[in-house]
């Protein structure tokens, strides 16, 4: 395993209380594997990736767990060693290509800086390497473009520059935190295509953070689903889309409009909103919004259990004593999740219908009222 994160917890002590931004997260990334992490906004994806990079901003700190990267535990490594790893073995790109590059330096210089931070190269050699890298990420006329300032480039180009910079020292692992969220779909397609190509060419592993299940499905090998600081499900990508186990994953998949869907059908909705990190429900973090919520869900946080290489954190698949249910139980759980979701959707639709009638009536009255 290239990277293996074990029981990682990251806290932010604030005036109003401690925010557990990452709780007990474990997953692994293998050599040249693309692992996607999906989850809603605020679910702790970025904090998790920054924890790996050791770039948490104040007052965040890794509270527990180990981050094993090529045999070194990053949670305990010295700042000096960490610096040696960053940029050389683990590289990272960020969501906002517009702001991730320093506006006052030429892009070439920024890439050169990344190279020379880790390798004893002359400026000239580094410049050549930079041009090479720009070429590799598909920037036309790289010889001229190295002299550009970031503002002279479009978002897509900047993101390519970021990737080029990340690739500067042939890292083993690239953490890409929502690399395409800010980009247009056509540009997003270009960038994702590039990432896939690079993985093939260089064998670098990618930890792809995103909230877009479509991106996951097209790019990743394995998926980790996070909800409220926890991993709720983890599976190989096809497995997850074909057979989502956790009600949250299920809901997520059903709530996105798909091209081949019947448009007349109402979309499935997950009820409510993400809870405030300081006021987490006592038991399962998803319990408030879950259609299959049970008594136990409100009392205990379920464990992550494994079902044929597919991990899930839910009492539908876990006994009250914390053990994985047997296969029948799992099948039942699956069925139940599906059924509950469908029922919920129908109820919501019926509600909407009723309401509509109500309103129409009052409206007619009003109209007359005003006329009179």
């Amino acid at each position: 395993m290239l990277l293996s994160v074990e029981n990682l917890s990251t806290d932010f002590p604030t005036k109003r209380g401690v925010v557990h931004a990452v709780e007990n997260v474990s997953f692994t990334v293998g050599e040249s594997e693309i692992v996607a992490i999906v989850g809603e906004s605020g679910s702790g994806k970025s904090v998790m990736s920054l924890s790996i990079m050791g770039l948490l901003s104040d007052p965040g700190r890794v509270a527990a767990g180990t981050i094993d990267f090529m045999g070194a535990d990053l949670a305990t490594v010295s700042e000096r060693e960490y610096r040696g790893l960053r940029g050389r073995d683990i590289a990272m790109i960020f969501q906002e290509p517009m702001t991730s590059l320093n506006p006052v330096y030429r892009v070439g210089d920024q890439i050169i800086e990344a190279i020379r931070a880790h390798e004893r190269l002359s400026r000239k050699e580094a410049l050549e390497r930079a041009i090479e890298l720009l070429d590799k990420v598909g920037i036309p006329c790289p010889q001229q473009r190295v002299r550009d300032y970031p503002h002279q480039m479009s978002g897509g180009m900047r993101q390519r520059v970021m990737i080029a910079m990340a690739l500067a020292c042939n890292p083993k692992l690239l953490i890409a935190d929502e690399p395409t969220t800010a980009l247009d779909v056509t540009i997003q397609a270009q960038i994702l295509d590039l990432l896939r190509r690079l993985r093939e060419q260089t064998g670098m592993a990618v930890l792809l953070i995103t909230h877009d299940l479509g991106v996951v499905s097209e790019t990743a090998d394995r998926v980790v689903v996070m909800y409220c600081a926890q991993v709720v499900e983890e599976a190989p990508v096809r497995e997850l889309f074909d057979r989502p186990l956790h009600p949250y994953t299920l809901g997520l998949l059903r709530s996105i409009p798909r091209l081949q869907d019947d448009d007349a059908k109402r979309l499935y909705m997950i009820r409510g909103t993400v809870p405030n990190p300081l006021e987490m429900p006592a038991g399962c973090h998803f319990s408030d919004r879950c259609d299959s919520c049970m008594e136990i869900c409100r009392q205990r946080v379920p464990d992550l259990v494994e079902v044929d290489g597919h991990k899930v954190r839910c009492f539908l698949y876990e006994d009250s004593d914390g053990a994985r249910k047997d296969d029948d139980g799992i099948a039942a759980g699956e069925a139940r999740a599906l059924a509950d979701a469908e029922t919920a959707r129908q109820i919501a639709a019926a509600d909407a219908l009723l309401e509509a009638e109500d309103i129409r009536e009052t409206e007619i009255e009003e109209h007359e009222g005003v006329k009179r």
């Binding site: 906004s41 994806k45 920054l50 901003s57 929502e178 969220t181 800010a182 993400v274 405030n276 990190p277």
Partner: protein
């Protein structure tokens, strides 16, 4: 707006030197929520932890800002005390152990003692009493000058910011002109022309700080105009008048309040400077800057003559600064979502 103008306006808005700096310098202790979560999505979900957002009532925010910060709470109390002293000494002058304006040459230049806490001045007047009474002038000049420049500045800034175009250009160019003359020099020239007197000091100090307010209000309005809720108001059919009064001004209020608080501190400083140069109040009126200016002649013999008034000025300016900082934290404009 073209780039060049953007820069020009950054520069100019900064030229309300204190203003810019103070506005920029806010304690962003906790506004860095969802650090990686770019853009709007980060702010989604429920109100994030420790996230400061614009809260409903401005005055409640002001109060929260003040209370949540020990220093500004202390200065709030200090200012309240000053105000109390000013009012009490105005209404019940007999409460003072000595008449601050009546001289007794037999007591000339007494060092601080139990009887005269801060000593006496050349005319044998009790400096403690004079410092206490000085709060009247300090506070009233501060407040009046700010009220004056605030109302003029808000009006001009609002017109310039909301109307835009030529009106904006003309108003702001005039403000530039006023800004190009150091305010203290302008104030001195105005005072020299008008002659000494407290009302004139108010006018001079008020006049010179109009441009600052106009700038701040204008730039605030320009940024508020960008918000969709202004567009929304227009879409639902609000008139300009309604938009300005219902949506724009309430949202500009917070920076005005912060600026006004800090403005009082600079008005107090300016007034003291005028007093120091002998252009302030009429005797025997007690004003700190004036006391300091006069005391300076006897400085070597009686250092208390300038020690206490100077301390009084510094402390009250400090208090207003701290208070302003506190209020600004309460109203942190950075938390406003775009």
């Amino acid at each position: 707006m073209e780039r060049s103008e953007m820069v020009a306006s950054t520069v100019q808005s900064a030229s309300a030197s204190q203003a810019a700096v103070r506005a920029a310098d806010s304690d962003d202790a906790e506004s860095a929520v969802g650090l990686g979560a770019g853009g709007v999505r980060a702010a989604l979900g429920p109100t994030g932890v420790g996230e400061r957002e614009v809260r409903e009532s401005i005055w409640k925010d002001v109060a929260t800002g003040i209370i949540s910060n020990r220093a500004s709470l202390a200065s709030g109390i200090f200012i309240a005390l000053l105000a109390l002293v000013a009012i009490v000494t105005k209404l019940f002058p007999q409460i003072l152990p000595f008449d601050p304006n009546v001289q007794d040459l037999s007591l000339s230049l007494q060092a601080p003692s139990a009887a005269h806490l801060f000593g006496t001045d050349l005319q044998g007047r009790d400096i403690f009493c004079r410092v206490l009474v000085g709060t009247q002038i300090t506070l009233s000049v501060g407040v009046a000058a700010v009220a004056f420049s605030l109302s003029a500045g808000v009006l001009l800034g609002a017109v310039a910011g909301y109307k835009g175009g030529r009106v904006d250009t003309i108003i702001m160019r005039v403000m530039d002109m006023m800004l190009a003359i150091p305010s203290i020099l302008l104030a001195i020239a105005i005072m020299a022309a008008l002659g000494p007197g407290i009302e004139k000091a108010v006018i001079a100090i008020g006049l010179v700080s109009i441009p600052e307010y106009a700038r701040i209000v204008r730039s605030e309005i320009l940024s508020i105009k960008e918000h969709d809720y202004i567009a929304a108001a227009r879409v639902i059919g609000d008139s300009n008048f309604e938009i300005v009064f219902r949506h724009v001004l309430p949202n500009v209020m917070q920076s005005i309040i912060v600026r006004a608080t800090l403005g009082i501190s600079s008005a107090v400083l300016d007034a003291a400077a005028l007093g120091f140069l002998g252009l302030g109040v009429q005797p025997p009126c007690a004003e700190w800057g004036d006391m300091l200016g006069r005391g300076r002649n006897d400085l070597l013999r009686a250092s208390w003559l300038m020690l206490y008034p100077g301390l009084a000025i510094t402390l009250s300016v400090l208090a207003f600064n701290l208070l302003g900082d506190g209020i600004r934290d309460g109203l942190d404009p950075k938390a406003r979502k775009r």
